[in-house]
């Protein structure tokens, strides 16, 4: 590894960092043995965290940041003056193996700007994955960002080598896509998602390996005027129709070399956070998009409180909930109770009638849950849920008196 390669690594890691996805989970167990290298265990590992709080799990780089496309939100668009660089296939392979051997990463997340043509670019990316797997017996995680404009045969090949394929939708409506990413097309992107989903499902049924950790996508939030409701409806459709494992939300963040078409002020990062919380409610807590959106105003989520609490405050008549009687579905709707805490409650209450003290050991979110609960020794007097200042009481952290 010489200085020139380190310099390129700097450019092409910088160029790749706006993709939010980093997960290395969901792969089938695999090991490289004495001739190969590496293993996947199913659960991902975060090998470091950067000061933006994000996890470093995969070597996330672009093959090149030269690009013929002109997507305004992207630092690598052809009209940007950013510094350009390009890896060879062998260089990416060497970097991946070198960092993997030092236990810095779980594997590779490879994406690329479009050079020459989508097919040419996708084939180069596929060659990286193929070389790692076939020539080096690499058994670590490989995530390939799929270029939706590439020919279908390349997707069929990519799925042989990758643990996960992803196709970024980037913007929730065709209208925004047309305005901000002139070379992209919503229909093409969804067709590829459909193709990938079909192959993944078939391979699973036929016990073959094809992108075993599924597919994911990313939506950029705050670059266009789409509401949270619209974003969540898009996600809901993607989960249902294309069996996506994850939809990542990336709050549009200022980039060097920004285009003049973009909003001057980036959206609050909190918006991205609330969308992730809402996404979880959608997938694991039995909420509908309609219910989640009803917690906010005008199709936007409440930035001040989490979407579950927001929903609960607008549906106070459904509370308090008796932890010793309520079913799982209703317990999951109690603010402050996570899915693990709910399962522990269900298992523990078979043996004993739960009191507040018990709940304190079962859940770490009791302070927020308290007004919405009934326990064996606790019944909120006069209906705490009716208090108008409930929201204030829950959001301002209880402060201790300072002594002089």
């Amino acid at each position: 590894m010489d200085d020139a390669l380190i310099e390129k690594l700097g450019i092409l890691a910088d160029a790749a960092k706006y993709d939010a996805s980093c997960a290395s989970s969901g792969a089938k167990p695999r090991r490289g043995g004495t001739e190969g290298l590496g293993s996947t265990t199913g659960a991902g590992i975060c090998h470091a965290y950067t000061p933006d709080g994000r996890c470093v799990s995969l070597l996330k780089i672009l093959l090149t940041n030269h690009c013929l496309f002109d997507c305004v939100y992207c630092i690598n668009r052809r009209s940007s003056n950013v510094r350009r660089a390009r890896f060879t296939v062998a260089e990416v392979v060497d970097l991946t193996l070198g960092f993997y051997k030092r236990n810095c990463i779980e594997g590779l997340f490879l994406s690329s700007g479009i050079i020459r043509s989508p097919d040419h670019t996708m084939e180069q990316m596929m060659l990286v994955a193929r070389t790692l797997r076939r020539d080096h017996g690499f058994a670590g995680y490989i995530h390939l960002k799929t270029i939706p404009e590439a020919s279908p045969w390349l997707i069929e090949q990519a799925g042989l080598w990758a643990d996960r394929l992803s196709i970024n939708l980037e913007l929730p409506t065709d209208h925004s896509l047309k305005a901000f990413a002139p070379e992209k097309n919503g229909g093409t992107i969804k067709a590829v998602m459909g193709q990938v989903n079909e192959r993944i499902v078939e391979a699973k049924e036929e016990r073959r390996r094809f992108s075993p950790a599924g597919q994911s996508t990313q939506l950029i939030v705050g670059a266009d005027d789409a509401t949270d409701r619209l974003v969540l409806e898009t996600s809901g459709t993607l989960y249902q129709r294309y069996g996506l494992r994850r939809v990542y939300y990336s709050a549009f963040s200022p980039i060097p070399e920004a285009s003049s078409v973009l909003p001057v002020k980036p959206p609050p990062l909190q918006r991205e956070n609330r969308l992730y919380q809402a996404d979880w409610l959608l997938r694991y807590y039995g909420f509908t998009v309609e219910e989640i959106a009803s917690g906010g105003e005008g199709g936007m989520l409440d930035l001040g409180i989490d979407p579950k609490l927001a929903w609960a405050l607008k549906n106070r008549e459904r509370f308090p909930v008796d932890v010793n009687r309520a079913d799982r579905e209703m317990l999951l709707r109690v603010p402050g109770l996570g899915a693990r805490a709910v399962d522990k409650i269900l298992s523990a209450r078979r043996h004993t009638r739960l009191r507040m003290e018990d709940l304190g050991r079962l859940s770490s979110g009791l302070r927020r849950a308290r007004p919405f609960l009934i326990a064996a020794d606790y019944h909120p007097v006069g209906g705490l849920t009716d208090r108008l200042d409930l929201r204030q009481r829950l959001v301002t952290p209880s402060r201790q008196l300072s002594l002089f």
């Binding site: 380190i6 709080g53 070198g98 030092r102 236990n103 043509s117 989508p118 045969w153 036929e206 050991r361």
Partner: protein, 475 residues
């Protein structure tokens, strides 16, 4: 009162033996004092019996004990003994009672150990050592220094062995060490931090230096959030992670970098718009059959087996294209379609029907021979529906170049590939509209080869020839 002394660290064996004896002697937890020191001692003679009968515990208890003995808490053995005692005295389902104070405490110890193991898997860094002598495989050796909170050195070993089985490596910690020579795992005594792993020695390993650059570059200064970082990567780990040396400067310079981005005016592109390249980008599809074939040849088989891709054969512009299932054993060796026994039968039937084989375009739905090896024989395997779809785009693009007036599907696989749905050949044989093509379905000649009776075979063969005549008439 009994005093039981176990070995330093995670003495699972000692604890197991002690529990067996304590259980046999019906000794209650209140009567036992646990301590640590080498060698393990079981105190008085009442317990030093040979009552080593296994104790039967509910399934979840064993794994919990294995984890909790790794904890550094001096009370761990006493707590576990209380758990075993209660489980054996009427509370079999105790572990379900997550709100019970003892269970709650043990769960927290369990969680702390698991977290420690997970963080060691994650945050340990190997450094490549310069080869001192020509060892195995070029003498590449890796060494790591790590300081775990708990006694987990042996618990993490399987992970590192599995992942880095092909490397020679050493892991040193103040709680013990591990060495793997590509065949055997050796455990060793506690170690001290070796000089070679000091922070200022990064330059000895260019990859360590490259990693530092990667870490700095993947950070987005517009989203600086050190609290979130520290929650997952507490400071205590930083000393052994070379990349963390860059953190203070990264955090310090972040606000200025963001301010500069916000203030910068949208710049005018310095380079000309690459009009030609943008226009050329759209011309990526293969422009000829030869182009397509090159692409198929350099691609990986999408079925297991196959030594080479077997491409279609015949003139472009042929009136009829015949599509079979996949190349067989002979085709895979020769690299040509329909040259094996089924192909010879097809040639004979075509002759009988008065059709010139040379005038046809012959190809397969799947371009590779799928087989399993049994001894010296390579046994044909039918491609699955999913595998057929992997090849579909190639087939359809191929037909697009040949532009036949009629596409004849031989057998169910070809019919599936062409129509996109499962087809029952015997029931639906005859004309059929394929995806954009006039089509015709008939049996695959290998079906004729498999028919047992001579009479049946003759009749089926006559029907096959009749089908070919009909198809030729349609074209």
């Amino acid at each position: 009162m009994h005093t039981i002394t176990l070995q330093e660290g995670a003495d699972l064996d000692g604890f197991r033996r002690a529990v067996r004896r304590l259980t046999a002697a019906r000794t209650a937890p209140e009567e036992v004092l646990w301590s640590v020191g080498a060698p393990s001692l079981f105190g008085d003679d009442a317990l030093a019996s040979d009552a080593d009968a296994p104790v039967f515990l509910p399934q979840a208890v064993g794994p919990l004990i294995e984890t909790v003995v790794c904890h550094g808490d001096p009370e761990r053995y006493a707590l576990l003994h209380r758990l075993v005692w209660r489980v054996l005295n009427g509370e079999r389902a105790l572990l379900d009672q997550h709100a019970d104070p003892l269970v709650h405490r043990l769960e927290r110890l369990d969680k702390a150990v698991r977290r420690d193991i997970h963080k060691m898997h994650a945050f340990l860094r190997f450094r490549a050592l310069p080869p001192t002598a020509p060892g195995p495989e070029g003498g590449e050796r890796y060494v790591a220094w790590f300081e775990p909170d708990h006694h987990i050195v042996e618990a993490v070993a399987p992970f590192f062995v599995e992942r880095f089985e092909s490397m020679v490596w050493t892991i040193l910690t103040p709680k013990g060490s591990l060495h793997w020579d590509r065949r055997r795992l050796m455990t060793g005594p506690p170690a001290e931090r070796p000089d070679a792993l000091a922070h200022d020695r990064v330059a000895d390993d260019r990859f360590a230096e490259g990693w530092l650059r990667y870490y700095e570059s993947t950070f987005n200064p517009a989203r600086v959030n050190p609290t979130a970082m520290r929650a997952e990567m507490p400071r205590k780990y930083w000393a052994n992670m070379p990349e963390t040396a860059a953190i203070p400067a990264m955090v310090r310079s972040a606000p200025a970098r963001v301010q500069a981005m916000l203030e910068a005016e949208a710049a005018i592109p310095r380079r000309r718009m690459p009009e030609k390249a943008v226009a050329a980008m759209a011309r990526q599809a293969p422009e000829s059959l030869a182009d397509l074939n090159r692409l198929i040849q350099r691609s990986e088989p999408l079925v297991p087996g196959a030594t080479q891709a077997v491409l279609g054969e015949g003139p472009e512009g042929a009136a009829i294209a015949i599509v079979g299932e996949q190349p067989g054993d002979q085709e895979d060796r020769d690299g040509r379609p329909f040259v094996g026994p089924a192909g010879q039968l097809l040639t004979a039937a075509l002759e009988e029907a008065g059709i010139d084989r040379e005038s046809l375009y012959l190809t397969n739905a799947v371009k590779h021979f799928k087989f399993v090896q049994r001894g010296k024989r390579r046994i044909h395997q039918s491609p699955t529906a999913g595998e057929v779809k992997h090849y579909r785009w190639w087939l359809m693009t191929e037909l697009g170049f040949v532009r036949p007036r009629l596409v004849v599907a031989l057998g169910a696989t070809a019919a599936l590939a062409l129509s996109g749905r499962p087809v029952s050949v015997l029931r639906e044989r005859g004309p059929m509209a394929f995806d954009g093509w006039n089509g015709f379905v008939t049996v695959h000649p290998s079906y004729l080869l498999r028919l047992p009776g001579d009479e049946d075979r003759r009749r089926a063969q006559a029907e096959f020839v009749a089908d070919l005549r009909r198809a030729a008439a349609l074209a």
